[in-house]
Symmetry: C2
Subunit: 167 residues, 2 copies
DNA sequence: TTATATTTTCAATTTTTTCTGAATTTACAA
DNA sequence: TTGTAAATTCAGAAAAAATTGAAAATATAA
């Protein structure tokens, strides 16, 4: 298989995976496209590569920058903006984990805390429900620790420690 | 806040979280409903609690059983099927992680393996792309180890080891 | 400045996903 | 068996999400 074809397939697969995990397919595809691109691409390049509209390309590029997965770059003598992706897959994983925690998990955990604070009654049912809320929070806290740890170490260091942990 | 109201809110929040992570909102809500329910519920109960149609309730209950998050139970002298949820939040987390890995991550990793196997050329570009594929696979392998480990230990044991790891 | 290239916005449209509800099938008690 | 309650299916409807494309705003080189 030619490299161009292989890259196209990766972009497709990445798009599918994203959509299964609640991330807009185009956004994942743009991310993959820039991940495999040797050089920064302009909005126009992205439009052409993925055959999508200007508005769509623009919105998703902007979102990816907000996620911290892309950077804007300037090419001197060129008026256009260019985008390039973080290429370190470990860093990408950490960034995505942190962002999803911040955007989606944390609001949920806050809501649970609020529920627990406001919960009335001392019935057995109330106690069970309280325990459920605490259990969910505990798992949230563990995920948090894990993500923080991931953010602090390099990939290989994480792999080593994980290996020891598993044994 | 009354317990019934608190439970309803949890069901709503759970639904939102699910939809953000690519899981149909109704499915998450049904799961939460059974998670906070003191007793098994029938399809009819679920329809009434969430004000959804029979078809919708049926399909999502079936899917939840396939995910391993619900069990069918029989109440003697009653012709209806009842459903009850696994209540151990740690086990739920492990089940969800395993299922998502099996259904979504593994197909992606297989596709990547295939791409790598079939990749032609020894150009610098090809080597870089090859490295990218390997890096993605490596992270997949780490996620796999982590999930397996989670499946083997209890929640508190995991928390302890994680704590040591982080230090 | 000014002309124009580029970016941004967003109402309307298209696509995808989810849901409904009635018809069909299946399972059970008598 | 037979009658009926419950489970299952699925075509069409509704809702939600994504996308388009053109108009407006902004930025830059000359």
């Amino acid at each position: 298989m030619k490299i161009e074809e292989a890259k196209k397939e990766l972009v497709q697969n990445w798009g599918v995976l994203g959509s299964q995990w609640g991330i807009n397919r185009t956004m994942s595809q743009i991310h993959a496209l820039l991940l495999v691109s040797e050089k920064p691409l302009s909005t126009e390049d992205v439009m052409n590569e993925l055959t999508i509209s200007r508005g769509n390309a623009h919105t998703n590029l902007k979102d990816l920058v907000e996620w911290g997965l892309l950077n804007k770059t300037i090419i001197s003598g060129d008026r256009k903006e260019y985008f390039e992706a973080e290429k370190d897959v470990w860093k990408i994983a950490v960034t995505v984990a942190k962002e999803r925690k911040r955007r989606e998990l944390e609001p949920m955990l806050k809501a649970i805390q609020k529920l627990d604070d406001e919960l009335e009654g001392k019935s057995e049912e109330a106690l069970k429900f309280h325990k459920l809320l605490k259990d969910i929070q505990q798992i949230g806290a563990q995920a948090d620790m894990l993500i923080n740890f991931m953010g602090k170490v390099e990939n290989n260091s994480f792999a080593n420690k994980l290996l020891k942990l598993v044994k």
